[in-house]
Symmetry: C2
Subunit: 470 residues, 2 copies
């Protein structure tokens, strides 16, 4: 006998939690599609040579390699016959560790079959050999959208992604949230204006600033004026003031941008871009309470070049960013000579779901089964099947009790399973041409003509669905 | 520069094909949910020790092993230090090769948290290191449903699965199809009645019979009377007549069962079970043209013990079975002492999609983007965004042209992308308070008041969706 268990670091759910998770993925997918993004799925494994284009990054140290049984046998032989035991020897396949590298490979491979700007969404699991730790996952869903231009991509696209974020998180119903906006050119220009022109030095300062929330302003300031950075006090003061800017309204955001002054060309361009994004967000109908300028947001230091986004839940700051991304210069320089600038965001759905449950924002869902047709009498089985068939034809998810167990047991089953309606049709009901319906949520009971059942339940369920959308 | 490419044996689709594939998965999922099946997802990798409980099966020789970078380094050291180079040494993790073993592990692991009969659906990819070959996939979707009982599971469940198959394939709109039914007890009893009582010998005969379609009746009969089997002529004749039985109607199916006579207890039980399944199929409202008794169906020889199913497309027999399954005695004997009988079916969606395209039954889908809001004049961008926002709020998938390119180019883009409606709102339309709509499918053009646009398009799109359901 083998103990049935999963490997640590994966999220496996019981059905009712899986239903809640599936609803979250459905909301994300539906909204991605609403905004005109097209579905892409890529294989879980890529050729290692194609996937691991960069070397030494943290993510790549966490990669999972894959080998078929045959390839593994060959691999063992090669390991035994290596002259230098330190010689690098990697299996041919590896699991994707994000959806960006597969997207780059996909766009470069299918470049001539795609229309640009190419707008794709991708909702799949990715794999990272993280150390086992509470809330860290080795397998998790990413839900990404990206817009990829050929040669160029207008700044207007940068305003569309926050509009998608707004639609998704509004429908998810996770309480008030703020989309935090910044621009890497603005950041770069600001530091250049302070005499910190070297890109690497900027990156180091930005890395310190990224620790603001964790270490606090005083500790970060002390580091900046200390031995490592040796910044003058007034420079450190200006940095600290700058990175603590959070706008409180649309007008305030514009005022914060204006207050930065003319500065150098890089700063001016960053300001102009961020201003255009803000104006378009308004045109998109995103309420101003849902976005803010935040000059401390930097994101992936090597990667992003313009607009950057983070999204935080106002009442749960400890969760951190639940949706991040930004603008990048060139998606697929490893695979094609074409210049492919893009802008994208990602929701880490597995971690988000886990965190929302931990924070008590999400609870176990009702069942996806909406109606259980109970069985009072063995002779009524064909009627039960017919009733269920008509419910299904009307778009209602229905399960039939196939054995005439004690009614109390049938109700107990429906209740435990989270099924809302139980329908009963015994001899008495048959004589009167009605069906008995019990709503396990309200504990109310009513009767309805057998041929009216689907219509009656649809009305009740539509009300529920309409409420669920808020 | 690295050549962007995938490993052979995976199916990666361009967006419009991905949309068609996604719709197929959605139809399958929606129908599984309609019948009250609950979603389960399991991790892509399982502990090898848990996954590979049996040894030497073909499927297990095709398994993919998985190792994190760290685990791979350790593995190399262990390979180098092995005393006996033939000693078995397998990585800790392996990719699932079907959804049945993960289901067994899941049910055994979560036994006390599940309500039985446990009805689950699972739509995920599985992995097999097949030899590269046209139409063979190393990564493919399986769409499974199973009903698992505790200690016992009534035969009535066996009739529900063909009702699901009927609903799925009707909505998929792939033309006429037949659910072929048989029962392993009936088969076993029949062979025992011919004096072929040994289980292993039966299995060998059944394996020959499985080749009927490929080799033809004469060749199979010759094998049965030949040196390997040495069956008497009259026994071979009775087998050949038996396995060629295909019922032509519900009444004919019952008559075929009656014609088998009393026989032994095993045969009688198989006949009784199959008869009950047929009667319930009728109660489920499955039309008799969609099912038939076929005594040659045996399926997985070690695994199934009662009802077995295959599903074939009447006009495309070369495709073979598109949905198969059956009844098994005990799901998870490797993991738990509880007896867990079950019945299930599986649709191999990747292969099915590929075959339907090859057979010309499925074509590239229209886009999931239903409306493109064109941009005639830069000054109208905010209007475009507002028009799109209202369409999306009404549940319509809409994309906005963010640059006022030449109109011909915008139309060309929409046409190539498979978007049905283009909406235009320029100065002239603004003056009159209307929006211009072009239907790229019918090539018709009409105008509608700006505030009526969503309602008007919804009517058109609902008609399309209703037609798409057939």
């Amino acid at each position: 006998m083998i103990k049935p268990r999963t490997t640590p670091g994966v999220m496996e759910l019981l059905p009712r939690d899986q239903i809640a998770f599936q609803r979250m993925l459905d909301v994300i997918r539906r909204n991605y599609e609403r905004f005109g993004f097209l579905p892409v799925e890529t294989p879980v494994f890529e050729l290692s040579e194609v996937l691991l284009t960069k070397t030494g990054g943290e993510t790549e140290r966490q990669v999972y390699f894959v080998q078929s049984t045959g390839a593994l046998d060959e691999f063992k032989d090669r390991v035994r016959n290596l002259r230098d035991p330190n010689e690098a020897l990697a299996p041919e396949l590896a699991l994707r560790f994000d959806l960006t590298v597969p997207l780059a490979r996909y766009v470069a491979e299918h470049e001539h079959d795609l229309a640009f700007p190419f707008r794709r969404y991708q909702i799949q699991r990715v794999y990272r050999g993280e150390r086992a730790q509470r809330g860290r996952f080795r397998e998790f869903y990413q839900c990404d959208i990206d817009v990829i231009g050929k040669d160029a991509l207008g700044i207007r696209h940068d305003a569309e992604l926050p509009a998608v974020i707004h639609a998704v998180f509004t429908e998810l119903g996770v309480g008030p949230f703020t989309i935090q906006l910044n621009n890497r050119k603005l950041l770069r220009g600001f530091f250049e204006g302070l005499g910190i022109a070297d890109g690497e030095r900027q990156a180091l300062v930005l890395r310190e600033i990224d620790k603001l929330d964790k270490r606090g302003a005083d500790a970060v300031r002390a580091t900046l004026t200390g031995a490592d950075f040796q910044l003058a006090d007034d420079v450190a003061d200006r940095i600290m003031a700058f990175v603590q800017v959070r706008s409180t309204s649309h007008a305030d955001a514009l005022a914060r941008l204006a207050a930065l002054g003319e500065g150098n060309a890089t700063l001016a361009q960053g300001v102009a871009e961020l201003r255009e994004v803000l104006e378009l967000l308004k045109a998109h109908g995103v309420p101003e309470k849902n976005y803010a300028v935040n000059f401390s947001i930097a994101r992936g230091l090597d990667y992003y070049t313009g607009t950057v986004y983070e999204t935080t839940l106002d009442e749960h700051p400890q969760i951190g960013s639940v949706c991040s991304g930004g603008r990048y210069e060139d998606l697929a320089s490893h695979y094609t000579k074409s210049k492919l600038p893009g802008v994208g965001i990602s929701i880490g759905a597995t971690r988000l779901f886990w965190q929302l449950r931990e924070a008590g924002i999400l609870s176990t869902a009702e069942s996806s089964v909406e109606v259980m047709v109970g069985l009072m009498d063995e002779s009524r089985l064909a009627d039960s099947l017919d009733i269920a068939r008509r419910l299904r034809a009307a778009g209602i998810n229905a399960e039939v009790q196939l054995e005439a167990k004690k009614l109390a047991k049938q109700f107990q089953y429906a209740d435990r399973a989270g099924i809302r309606f139980v329908v009963l049709y015994g001899d008495d009901e048959a004589t009167r041409g009605v069906v008995k319906v019990k709503d396990l949520r309200s504990q109310e009971q009513f009767e309805v003509a057998r041929e009216e059942l689907a219509t009656a339940l649809k009305v009740e369920l539509e009300q529920q669905r309409a409420m669920g959308m808020r």
